[in-house]
Structures are given as C-alpha cells and as structure tokens.
Amino acid sequence: MQGYWTLTRRELAAYFYSFTGWVVIAVATFLVGLSFVVLLDRLGNAPSPAPVTELFYQTYYFWLIVLLATPVITMRLFALERFSGTFETLMTTPVSDLTVVLAKFSAALVFYLVMWLPMLGCLLVVQRFVHQPGALDAGTLAGMYLGVALVGALFLAAGCFASSLTRSQTAAAMIGALLGVSLFSLGFLAQRVPTSASVFRQALAQLNVFEQMQDFARGVLDTRAVVFHLSGTAFLLYLTLRAVESRRWR
C-alpha cells in the first residue's frame, strides 16, 4: 500500500514537472473554453430545454479532448521508464507489478480529472448568467463528472496498455490514439451492421460510448454503461499488467 501511494504521488508530480502536463491542461482548457463560446452562441440563437451539460457533449469538443488528451497523458507512463532504464530500478524494488500498474493508472486518472476542472468553472459561469435553476443541478453535474471519469478511465487504460508495449513515447501515443478511436467508433459500427445480424448489432450498440456519455450528461446513470466502462477498464489494465510481466515469460 505504501508503495502504491508513493508511486502514485511521484507519477502525479511528474505530470506537473513536465512541460507536457501543462500543455495538455492548456489545450484542454482552450478547447473547453472554445466549446462553451460555441455553445453559448448557439443557445443565444435558439434556446434549448436540455441541460447545458448535455448540450456540451453534442458539440464533439468533449470527444476531441478525450481522444486527444488521453494518449498524451498515458504515453510516458511505461514507455519513458523503459526508454530511460528507470523501469529496471522500479521493478527491482519490493513493489509488485500490479501495484506499479495501478499506481500509474491512478496518477493518470487524477491528472485527467484535474484537466477537466476548468470545465466546472465554465459551467458555473453559464449557470450564473442563464438564471435558470434547471440548467444545471447537482445531480446532473455529478452524473456528468462520473461519466467523464468512467469514459476517461476506459481510454486511459487503453493508453496505459499502449504505453506498456513500447519504449517509444510517440509509438505509445499513436497506439493509444488508435485504440481510443477504435473504441469510440465501435458503437457507430452498429448502424452499419445489417439488421439480419440483430444479436451482433445489439451487442455492438451496447458498446456505444458516445450514447452512453450522453446519458451520463443528462444525469442518467445506466448500470449497463457503468459496468461496461468498469469492466473495459479492468480488462485493459489486466492486459497492461501482462505486458509489464512479459519480461518474465518472454
């Protein structure tokens, strides 16, 4: 347990020591701000009954940020340590492989959630000016943040796995982005599958992270979606663990 906290703290600190961490935060903040400008502009032209949080996810900026930021956040986790050789000093301490994977993933997740904080500010600004209590209530906000965290966890786990496969951060980011985009497109594939293969189609529809996120943003907590995200994350982290252990059986 001590190893876990020590490592998580260091990994998290490493984000703020590095230029990359600040760039990620800056880009995310910029895109969030931009999306809100677009959103408010649209709302000014045509008022909508839907909550602001839901409208935000229809702008695609959210997905742009997730798909762009998660591979960059996770790319250094294992690849950099392998490249610089610190992987060896790390793995020869009495800390288990599982602890290492979980600590690195946790640090990435915390950083990712920190990255989303500016959005909270934007939402508060919106609330202040729309003078409508229904525009943003605590439940919707909680549902949305849970959604952001769950989607993030899934994509970050994919990024972790990508990073554990290679010594090159660039390759890790590219593989991570590839996995992320594939995951994202999976749900849209359902519309392409012929109706005759209805079981397959239904199964694919369950994997639609885009629609699931819309539910979350509406404040709807669908257990299936939660289970899907959590099990997907766990599976990808398991693959990461196997990749980290691979030096033992390769």
């Binding site: 001590q2 190893g3 020590t6 490592l7 260091r10 490493a14 020591y17 590095s18 610089s84 050789g85 610190t86 060896e88 000093t89 790390l90 793995m91 020869t92 301490t93 009495p94 800390v95 288990s96 030096r247 033992r248 059986w249 390769r250």
Partner: protein
C-alpha cells in the same frame, strides 16, 4: 543457516529468443566479499545481475540470495538487494533529496526511517550540498553518487552495481572506487566491469565471464599467477606409469600432474608448473636421460590469457 553464502548461483541459464545470454553459470559469493564480474560487453554480466536482482527470471538453474530463491521469494530478495543498473538510470526531473526519499519509501522504509536514511546517505556520499538540486542538472560524478546512494538507502545486505564507473572521468573513477571499497565488510558487493585493472583494484575475487560462461573465478593474485606462470604443459611419453609418477613427484617445479593412458605404452601427462616456470626443457631432459620416447610436448597457452587480451583490449583503445 545458509552456509554463509550471500549469493549461490547454480547452473544458471538464460535464453532470449534465439540467443543464449548466460549458459550454465555457477558461483558463490560469501558475505562481506567484493566480487567482480569481469568480461567484455555481451559476456552475460548484466543478464546475470538482472536475474539476481529479480528483474528477469532464469530459463533454468537456480539463484539464491541470502538463502532465498530470487524468483520464488522475489520481493523478499529485492528488499535485501541494492541494485544499480547499467548507465545508472535516474529521474532527471526530480531533486536529489526528493528522489532518494521516493526510493526509500518505495523500498518500504517508514517515513521517519526514510528521512534518517536519506540524511545518512546524503552525508555518506557527499551529496548534502546538492540535495536540493535537480538531478538532470548534476554532473555525471554526482549522478553516479545519487545512484549509489539509492542502492544503499535501504541498507541492503547485497549491493549489485552494473558498470559503476562507466562514463566517469579518471578523477571521478578514483573517488567512486574508493567509495565502493569502503562499503566492503558491512555489505556484500557484486560489481561488473570490463576493465581488468579496475577489477583488480576493487575486488577480493574476480569471475571472468565470456559468451555467457564463467571461465575462471579466483582472487586477482591467483589469476595473475596463472597468467605469469608457464601454465599447463602436456607431454606424451612412453614409459611405465609408476616411474613417471615418481619422477614428477620428485620435481620441485611441478605443482600438480595428471596421467592418462594412451594407445601403446604412451601416457599423456598434464603438468602444472609453479609460477613462472616453463617445464618443457626439463621434461625433454628427463626423457633423454631415461631413454623414454617423447612424442609430444606442448604448452597450453591458458585460455584465460586470451580472455584477458579480449577483456583489456577495448580499454586500451579508449585510452
């Protein structure tokens, strides 16, 4: 409880896809010893150390540290080892004290204990003045000391250093050697190097590795004697075995000898001379005086000699 051996390696073999890095290596290291693994690049030194430190598993054979199997009791073994890999990898963005504190906590030291130990190793390696500096901005010599401090921060019984003086300037090398020698006694040290001179200076015992095998293991003095001496002389003589034994036993220059019967009356005699003596003229004289037929007389250039040449050559080219 474990025969006093700190390291026991038996028939250790490590194969990577299509390549054997370490083949049937066996050796022991006693507590408090400084043992050097000497060999050219690619001899299997680093792989052996990685297996001992629990980073890589062996393909076959066993390795025990302080009586514990390095693979089965991996975490317990890792607690007892301070390992500094090749090129001394560090986190360049961290500050010296912060890094050592992080490492101490990672190795399971309590908050209070880690503070005490970090202070102690900072003092021990003369890092107190730079403890707030960023590691990436330190000179190589200082970074080397940070790596050593990390290896020692949890007071391990066994310290494994892979090429600890690589990339240092001569002055830094001298000070690093002094530091390493000062660790003897309280700790057991396994050090790898491709520098023969360095191994002789620092180590109580040297294991010479080449192509994944241990070719010789002895004190530097004995290895030198082996080099300086005439080595082994092989003679095939047609004579009664008893008479040969008697003669060889009577020759003061012969340290050990071994007879094996060949076809006919011939015996193949392998003789090891005392340091510095070439036995060949004496053997010829013996055969001539006794009227025995001598059909072969050769001196085995000890294979070690070739290795020494190979081991030392890269160093000479560098200088």
């Amino acid at each position: 409880m474990n025969d006093g051996w700190m390291i026991e390696v038996a028939h250790l073999t490590k194969r990577f896809a299509g390549r054997t890095a370490v083949e049937d290596v066996s050796f022991q290291v006693g507590r408090g010893e400084i043992v050097g693994l000497l060999g050219p690049n690619g001899a299997g030194k680093s792989t052996t150390m990685r297996i001992l430190s629990g980073f890589l598993p062996a393909t076959s054979g066993s390795a025990r540290v302080a009586g514990l199997d390095v693979f089965r009791d991996s975490r317990e073994v890792r607690r007892r080892i301070g390992y500094m890999p090749e090129n001394n990898p560090l986190h360049p963005e961290m500050r010296v004290r912060e890094y050592l504190k992080f490492r101490a906590r990672l190795k399971g030291l309590s908050r209070r204990r880690s503070r005490e130990r970090v202070d102690a190793v900072l003092e021990q390696f003369g890092l107190t003045d730079v403890s707030r500096r960023i590691i990436g901005q330190l000179s190589r010599g200082y970074r080397q000391r940070v790596g050593l401090a990390d290896a020692l921060v949890h007071e391990p019984e066994l310290i494994i250093l892979d090429e600890p003086t690589q990339g240092l300037d001569p002055h830094q090398i001298r000070s690093a050697r002094e530091t390493i020698k000062s660790l003897a006694g309280a700790h057991t040290l396994l050090i790898s190097t491709h520098n023969l001179h360095e191994a002789e200076l620092m180590c109580h015992r040297i294991l010479i590795m080449l192509d994944g095998r241990v070719l010789a293991a002895d004190t530097p003095e004995n290895l030198q004697k082996l080099m300086a001496g005439g080595g082994q002389v092989v003679a095939e003589i047609a004579a009664p075995a008893a008479a040969l034994r008697e003669c060889f036993a009577a020759m003061p220059e012969v340290e050990t000898f071994d007879l094996s019967a060949c076809e006919g009356d011939y015996y193949r005699c392998a003789l090891t001379a005392r340091a510095g003596v070439d036995l060949r003229p004496q053997l010829f004289a013996l055969a001539r005086d006794r009227g025995w037929t001598l059909r072969e007389l050769t001196r085995n250039r000890h294979s070690l000699e070739d290795i020494y040449v190979r081991v030392t050559r890269p160093e000479e080219e560098e200088e």
